[in-house]
């Protein structure tokens, strides 16, 4: 249990989530993202959920979302076409906070 650098995936595995399998609370439009030159979401999402895939396309998985809202605030070209909080009881469940 010595302290070490942890990847975002490792960090998220420490958390409790109740993922809403039926409804995504954040939806992106990849064609808009493709036009965005800055792509701030790649750097500002604390959970590193915005990634470029092999084809250079934006990919996003809402399952590990910490619901901070940073991507919503930073999305310049509005490739994020939907950003709402998850439905009641769903999403991250902080046990420390």
């Amino acid at each position: 249990m010595s302290i070490e650098r942890l990847s975002a995936v490792e960090l998220l595995s420490k958390n409790k989530f109740n993922v809403d399998e039926e409804e995504a609370h954040i939806v992106i439009d990849k064609t808009i993202c493709a036009q965005c030159s800055e792509k701030p979401c790649l750097y500002v999402c604390p959970a590193v959920l915005y990634k470029l895939n092999k084809n250079g396309e934006m990919s996003f998985d809402y399952a590990g979302c910490l619901e901070c809202g940073t991507c919503r605030v930073m999305c310049k070209d509005k490739g994020i076409v939907k950003w709402i909080y998850p439905r009641g009881t769903f999403g991250v469940i902080y046990r420390q906070g």
Binding site: K14, Y43, G97
Partner: protein, 431 residues
């Protein structure tokens, strides 16, 4: 829904603002419904953090004694990092923990604290409905008269938005627009579990005592800083960045945070610990200027983070206390207004002044400009460490004079005496 089901107030969000408001209203016999989207109050919330107890005392005397709090803060610390180096200032003030009085502040974890405070509001008679997300406000004849969650419509004389920094309620009410990226910071935090004794030994604490530490110079020049709070059996370590600058820097906030964690002056403090949670949250960074222009309309008030009540001085951060005070202010306004609901908004503004919240925010406004000075995030901590380096270095060579040491360090960091004097003047003027 029939008119008997109409509440005196609906509060959206069971954080400290919402629960303090519900507590005060319920205590005065008002019929209050708190709607919380999380499974339990606090499970969506994050702090650095600490709570200043005066706010709990304002809610009810001696309430802090049974509150779910961590350690009473008696060590106020500032750490300036530069490369591998670090200067730590430790202000130990046992007087912040006076006998027979509430200690000035406690470290706190929100999942436990918020749940406790909401339960206190319930004890007073408020209804706290968890696991329900409010989707929409109900507007009739220009007034907010209720809220919709899924298929349910709920009505009240007033709806109070306590739904945090991303206030969807305030946006729907037309009182705020999209949040400008410049006005917020993104905070990330790890909670690292350690034995009580280990924490006390590492931070030189008596049992129950705690340390609050601000870190400067750890953000690669990005506007922001780190924090470390000792909890009972864990350490909250985190940092806050301006997301715009982080994006320009093209390095993930997660990566920069991990660098801080592994810094040679930080890692030993948490060594042997286990990370038990990783959290993130937005925080208003604009202080007084970040308070939304209008905090009410007929049938609607905004409190806590939703209203923008956060103070960041660079060496301390306040939000939970201001949230509680604003909740009390809103409740008192609603009580004073009685049947004349339309007057609640202006009473609220009066209460915010009366309870010293607005004057306090205004008094701290000057910090904003100081914190806007880009070079305080790298050059100043570098300079301080360079000067200390020269002071303590003994090599057998003839040492430089103090004046030359400081001037040389300033030059090396690209800072002029004039810049530092200007910052000093700004500091004296605004603080």
């Amino acid at each position: 829904m029939s008119s008997e089901d109409k509440f005196d107030a609906i509060i959206v969000g069971a954080g400290p603002a919402g629960s303090a408001c519900a507590y005060t209203l319920a205590k005065a016999g008002r019929n209050v419904l708190v709607i919380e989207r999380g499974d339990t109050p606090g499970c969506k919330n994050v702090t650095g953090g600490r709570l200043y107890t005066y706010a709990l005392e304002m809610l009810d005397e001696d309430l802090y004694e049974e509150a779910a709090l961590e350690r009473r803060v008696t060590h106020e610390q500032i750490m300036m990092l530069s490369g591998e180096r670090a200067i730590t200032i430790d202000f130990h003030q046992p007087g912040f923990n006076p006998e027979a009085k509430p200690p000035m502040s406690f470290t706190v974890l929100r999942a436990v604290f918020d749940e406790w405070l909401a339960a206190k509001a319930e004890e007073k008679g408020a209804i706290v409905a968890c696991g329900i997300k409010v989707d929409q406000l109900i507007e009739q004849e220009g007034k907010i008269v209720g809220a919709i969650a899924g298929e349910d419509e709920m009505y009240a004389d007033i709806v109070i938005a306590a739904d945090g920094v991303n206030s969807f309620m305030a946006q729907q009410a037309g009182l705020i627009r999209d949040i400008p990226a410049k006005t917020v910071g993104v905070g990330v935090k790890e909670v690292i579990e350690l034995p009580e004794k280990t924490i006390e030994e590492r931070f030189n604490l008596q049992a129950g005592e705690g340390a609050a530490r601000m870190l400067l110079g750890c953000t690669e020049g990005i506007h922001g800083g780190g924090f470390l709070y000792t909890n009972q059996q864990s350490i909250s370590l985190g940092c806050v960045f301006t997301p715009e600058e982080a994006a320009q820097h093209k390095k993930s906030v997660h990566e920069i945070f991990q660098d801080i964690k592994m810094h040679p002056a930080i890692a030993p403090l948490i060594a042997g610990g286990e990370t038990i949670e990783y959290s993130a949250h937005l925080v208003s960074e604009a202080g007084y200027r970040g308070i939304h222009k209008k905090l009410y309309r007929e049938g609607f008030l905004m409190i806590g983070d939703a209203a923008g009540f956060v103070i960041n001085t660079g060496y301390s951060i306040r939000g939970i206390d201001l949230a509680i005070v604003s909740g009390i202010a809103a409740a008192r306004a609603v009580i004073t207004a009685g049947d004349n609901v339309a007057a609640a908004g202006s009473y609220y503004m009066q209460e915010l002044n009366h309870l010293k919240l607005m004057p306090t925010m205004k008094a701290a406004d000057g910090y904003f400009e100081i914190l806007e000075t880009p070079w305080i995030y790298d050059k100043v901590p570098n300079l301080a460490n360079d000067v200390f380096n020269s002071l303590f270095k003994v090599s057998g060579e003839v040492p430089q004079s103090m004046k030359n040491t400081v001037m040389g360090a300033m030059k090396a960091n690209g800072l002029s005496l004039w810049q530092l004097i200007q910052l000093g003047i700004k500091g004296v003027k605004s603080l």
